[in-house]
Amino acid sequence: MQLVYFAWVKERVGKSEETLHLPEHVNTVRELLSYLSGINEIYAHALAEPEKLRVAVNQTHVKLDHPVIDTDEVAIFPPVTGG
């Protein structure tokens, strides 16, 4: 899985993208966020407030119960503030 981060999520994670091998028990966006938070303190801090996070799978906005598979590009970012 390709993971990409933007704005303060990127700053907290400390990188803009990374490749992850998705464990078998991780099947939704919610499970992915939970799994990442368990990796270490850095991810735990970056993803601490799920209500302030938004997720896109393959460049489309999705909700927390959206399925994810290993070939997806998953982006994690704060609510957008363009315009």
């Binding site: 896109a56 982006a75 704060p78 957008v80 503030t81 363009g82």
Partner: protein, 149 residues
């Protein structure tokens, strides 16, 4: 049919409206919205816009397509800048063309409301006190609701 551009360079509002008008006599109404870097209290040094290359263009085209589905538009342009901008600089331009003013106004407002909540851009303000990411406004989510029907 919509023209969408995500770019670092500035845009020319008059030239973009002209490009939409060029050679056509069936549209009687052109609405433009220009969003600029606002310095509320004179403390802003610069504003940096980050975006999600690829998704940004896709999302803007999707938003434009939705506007074209809802209103009888004869033209539609969206330009959004990224990178570091100064107070007063242009950020975003939306232009709609239609036979009648109501459709042109509503579609332009719709485009901005959707763009504000769906286009993957993030603003960071640099002031004397340091840098800070701009928080999303619940106003913007509320603005979306009036288009649900």
């Amino acid at each position: 049919m919509a023209h969408v551009s995500v770019q670092q360079a500035d845009f020319d509002v008059g030239g973009e409206i002209e490009a939409l008008k060029e050679g056509r006599t069936d549209a009687g109404a052109f609405v433009s919205f220009t969003g600029t870097v606002r310095d509320m209290d004179g403390n802003l040094k610069s504003l940096t816009l980050e975006h999600y290359p690829g998704m940004t263009e896709t999302e803007l085209a999707r938003i434009a397509g939705e506007a074209e589905r809802r209103w009888p538009l004869l033209g539609c342009r969206i330009i959004h800048r990224f990178g570091t901008l100064a107070p007063g600089d242009n950020i975003v331009l939306v232009i709609t063309a239609s036979a009648h003013r109501r459709a042109a106004f509503e579609a332009a407002e719709f485009l901005m409301d959707f763009l504000k909540t769906r286009a993957p851009f993030w603003k960071k303000e640099a002031t004397a006190a340091g840098d800070a990411w701009v928080d999303a406004k619940t106003d913007d989510d509320d603005a979306l609701e009036k288009w649900q029907s």
